[in-house]
């Protein structure tokens, strides 16, 4: 099981490589709203959900793929860890 820092790093790396190639890593902060700001759309959100499920061995529900759970990297980490408990 990954700790929160490792998970945070993994998520950020995935987001940068998959959706924001060429973006400066320092621009993607842990509290940057990715969905509500329009950076990530529904397709990207679903890809992130699959990534998290695979990485953390969790199963997310449809209602958990919303802004409240997946808008920022911090939220994604919190969601993943709450599912792991």
């Amino acid at each position: 099981m990954m700790n929160s820092d490792e998970l945070r790093k993994a998520i950020k790396g995935y987001i940068l490589s998959e959706f924001l190639p060429g973006e400066k890593p320092e621009n993607v902060t842990d509290d940057l709203p990715l969905i509500s700001s329009g950076v990530l759309d529904s397709i990207a959100t679903l890809k992130l959900v699959l990534f998290l499920e695979e990485k953390c061995g969790i199963v997310l529900e449809a209602h958990e793929a919303d802004k409240e759970n997946m808008d920022t990297i911090d939220m994604m980490v919190a969601t993943a860890q709450s599912k792991q408990k």
């Binding site: 621009n27 700001s37 679903l46 449809a62 793929a65 409240e68």
Partner: protein, 838 residues
């Protein structure tokens, strides 16, 4: 550039300084003035806005713990203010029952079943299959409050870890602006709760004002399109008109985006920092992009309730298949829910081929786009990077192509029927001039200018915005607000120029456009209620019309006789309407009884015309005809004539060519004069009538009219738009032939032909055909009496029957009678001459 850390103190989140408080209030005062100057929406909305802005003055000073209760209470008060006590009480009661069902102490499945049962009962009542004790007026608002938000609410009650409170539920469903707007954005319940004072209060209020101004600008631009740019399909005769039609038709959407900005802006005043409703939808570069930018709340609603649940269920099929099936599912549901919305707002089902095809086509295009994005990704950025000229050119071209394709699809979606849409494209065979480039160039310029600033991050925290940038944006809003108010002041606009003043004046009221007025008139004349599906403005007028209005009371007034005449008034028919008795005599005239034979000392005139002349909405003795006849008999002003008889042969929905057989029938009464009551759009109505007759294959007994139909190439079974377009080119000839037939019949009888023009009770474009009709009448040999200005100086509200019915009321008929009498007396030598009669 990443979003700056937004650390807002609790104090900043909930309170504002006195300076900011009064600054906001001052802007709200200006906003109210702007709404009043431009008559934004309805009088009810202005009252609601006053309540909202006045309420804000108290709200912003309240301790945080009382604010939600205050908002909920104000929303309830707003509902009562707009709907009236009884209607509001019923609406709230029904709403509370629906909310209560979501919290019953039974399983969610059972709660869903109960909701479904109640929904079925309500829908049967909406469809008038079951009785209901409340007014029909509440249905559109009840629908707009609950038809979608109940789905979201139930979903969140089921899944949200943080339960809502009753106050939040009441505030959510009855939220303040909703009482005025049947079309309302699908606000998400979670977002509504979470967004309440989640950012700097002052900035939230300011953005609310910003959005309300933006909304009003959209609504004013909508009026420009609605009054001046929209064309009827029959007016699309060439490629340049086609370009205008496509653009204007799509740009009518400005009404929706305007209203939504206004609504959400108002919610911002109460601290609800919701996300944007639209994101520069004219600048969509693909179909998926368009779906993401237009009506964002709808997209998010579909995503939450349908898309994600479908994808998650279908994940085992693989991501691509799951996304494809879920996307198609979303578009099927979008189609269904639009029909469902239509049902609640209008009370009828919407199953139209274009509707189904439109969503199917858009769904397939979005799927194709999505598959492309899955494979190739799409350009995303956080910081505004460098963009080359080539990048910009590609973006402009993609956006341009998307815009025109959307216009094309939109024209298909909004067409009244498929034949009408296909007939539009025959315009490509028209004359190609340089004018055809006008709209494509305007669109290109707008897109280029719109794409110059790169897209920024959306919905970012307001507290994170740099002060300078925030202040600049707000300054632009305030300058715009003041500029609009200034230009709306007539004395100032006149100084700029009389044409400017006239133009601004025309945009300052929410009247119906010339095309909609024609449709409203068509509703009377042909007893049609087939209002254009997407025409919310005309529909809003129609929804106010009571179910038992005059057209229902007059339902048995006419009977079908077939042939060119088509229908006549039923002889010996009496109806008691809300405006008095309507009596049809034994001859089928809305008049007292007359002997067939004219007595030698009488002067007899036939009066022809449509519903206004018949006296729609006034009693038997209140029609202008009855008043003139009575006065003529009382004043006995013409030597040698002891008795005056005006035989009212007018029939609702009769068009000029139909008056020929009507006169032929009337000659049996030995008239000394034939008075032809002309009303608005004589030429267009003649064309529409002849087109309908020709399409139906009805025999045309007049060789000249038959020839015109032949020359125009109109055949039996041809589409409505196509046949009208074809005959429109012959409109003057059609009216000439009709008028000449009548004057020839009059001459044969030795009767004096008199043409009287009866205007609409309000100013408007109805007068555009009057000069031509007058000229044609004179050339045909009529004595003409033009009463175009008979209602000048009077407010339309004084003279018309109702908002949805522009027929003149009793006062209108009195004015017509007084004027007609004066005019007849002024020309007495020619009007009352006795020629040799048979």
């Amino acid at each position: 550039m990443s979003v700056a850390k937004a650390s807002v103190s609790d104090a900043d989140r909930t309170t504002v300084s006195w300076g900011h408080y009064f600054l906001v209030l001052a802007q709200l005062g200006l906003l109210l003035l702007l709404m009043r100057q431009f008559q934004i929406e309805s009088a009810a909305f202005l009252r609601l806005a006053m309540l909202a802005f006045g309420g804000f003055a108290v709200y912003a000073l309240l301790p945080m713990r009382y604010r939600l209760a205050f908002f909920a209470g104000l929303s309830i008060v707003g509902t009562f203010l707009v709907l009236g006590y009884a209607n509001a009480a019923w609406l709230i009661a029904i709403g509370l029952v629906l909310i209560g069902i979501c919290h019953l102490p039974i399983s969610f499945t059972l709660r869903g079943v109960v909701l479904l049962i109640v929904g079925v009962i309500l829908s049967m009542q909406r469809a008038k299959l079951m009785p209901f004790p409340w007014s029909e007026a509440i249905w559109p608002i009840l629908g707009s409050m609950f038809m979608f938000r109940l789905i979201v609410y139930f979903y969140d009650v089921r899944h949200d870890k943080v339960p809502g409170t009753p106050l939040q539920a009441i505030a959510y469903f009855f939220m303040l602006p909703n009482a005025c707007f049947p079309l309302f954005p699908v606000v998400d319940y979670k977002a509504f709760r979470r967004a309440h004072f989640d950012d700097d209060a002052y900035r939230t209020y300011q953005v609310g004002i910003d959005w309300m101004v933006r909304g009003i600008v959209h609504l004013i631009l909508y009026r420009v399109v609605y009054y001046y740019l929209v064309l009827a399909p029959t007016e699309v005769t060439g490629p340049s008109e086609l370009m205008q039609y496509l653009v204007a038709n799509f740009m009518l959407y400005l009404r929706v985006s305007g209203l939504f900005h206004l609504i959400v802006g108002m919610l911002y005043l109460y601290g609800f920092r919701l996300s944007e409703t639209h994101n520069r939808y004219l600048l969509a570069a693909s179909f998926t992009d368009f779906w993401r930018r237009i009506n964002i709340y709808w997209k998010e609603f579909m995503q939450k309730i349908f898309y994600y649940p479908a994808v998650f269920k279908l994940k085992k099929l693989g991501t691509t298949w799951a996304l494809v099936i879920a996307t198609l599912y979303v578009f099927i549901m979008t189609w269904f829910l639009h029909a469902y919305q239509w049902f609640w707002l209008r009370g009828t089902m919407l199953f139209v081929a274009q509707d189904i095809l439109f969503w199917a086509i858009l769904g397939v295009l979005v799927v194709i786009n999505s598959l492309y994005e899955i494979k190739h990704g799409r350009a995303r950025a956080i910081a505004k990077g460098e963009r080359t000229a080539k990048d910009l050119a590609i973006a402009v071209l993609k956006t341009y192509a998307t815009f025109w394709f959307i216009c094309f699809l939109w024209s298909f979606w909004t067409a009244e029927n498929l034949p009408q849409w296909t007939s539009l494209w025959t315009a490509l065979g028209g004359t190609w001039t340089l004018n055809v480039l006008v709209w494509p160039l305007i669109v290109m310029v707008v897109i280029f200018l719109g794409l110059l600033p790169k897209d920024t991050l959306r919905n970012t925290k307001l507290s994170g915005q740099a002060d300078k940038e925030f202040s600049r944006s707000r300054a632009i809003t305030i300058i715009g607000l003041v500029a609009l108010i200034v230009v709306s002041v007539e004395s100032i606009a006149t100084k700029i120029g009389p044409q400017v003043a006239s133009y601004v004046h025309s945009l300052r009221s929410g009247k119906l456009s010339r095309l909609d007025i024609a449709k409203l008139e068509q509703g009377y004349y042909q007893n049609l209620l087939s209002v254009d599906r997407f025409n919310s403005q005309l529909w809003e007028v129609y929804t106010k019309k009571p179910a038992n209005w005059l057209d229902v009371e007059f339902a048995n007034l006419k009977h079908f006789v077939g042939g060119f005449l088509n229908e006549e008034l039923k002889p010996s028919f009496v109806s008691n309407t809300r405006y008095g008795a309507v009596t049809i005599n034994r001859w089928g005239m809305r008049d007292q009884d007359y002997a067939k034979e004219r007595s030698p000392e009488s002067f007899r005139a036939l009066l022809l015309g449509p519903s206004t002349v018949m006296g729609w909405g006034v009693s038997d003795d209140g029609t202008f005809e009855a008043l003139v006849e009575s006065r003529l008999n009382k004043e006995q002003a013409i030597a040698g004539i002891k008795r005056f008889e005006i035989l009212n042969m007018a029939v609702p929905a009769y068009q000029p060519p139909q008056q020929i057989p009507a006169v032929e029938k009337g000659l049996g009464f030995s008239p000394d004069a034939i008075i032809f009551g002309a009303t608005v759009r004589e030429l267009t109505r003649s064309v529409n009538f002849l087109a309908e007759i020709a399409r139906k294959g009805v025999e045309i007994p007049y060789p000249e009219l038959r020839q015109i139909v032949q020359d125009a190439g109109v055949t039996k079974g041809m589409g409505e738009t196509e046949s009208e377009k074809a005959l429109m080119q012959h409109k003057e000839r059609i009216l000439e032939v009709s008028y000449r037939h009548i004057t020839a019949l009059a001459a044969k009888q030795g009767a004096t032909p008199i043409w009287i023009f009866i205007p609409q009770v309000r100013d408007g474009d109805w007068a555009e055909e009057t000069p031509d009709a007058l000229r044609i009448a004179r050339a045909a040999g009529f004595i003409t009496i033009d009463m175009s200005d008979v209602f000048k100086g009077r407010k339309p509200e004084e003279l018309k029957l109702a908002e949805w019915d522009n027929h003149p009321n009793a006062l209108g008929h009195q004015l017509l009678a007084d004027r007609l009498y004066t005019e007849l007396m002024a020309q007495r030598e020619s009007v009352f001459r006795r020629a040799n009669t048979n």
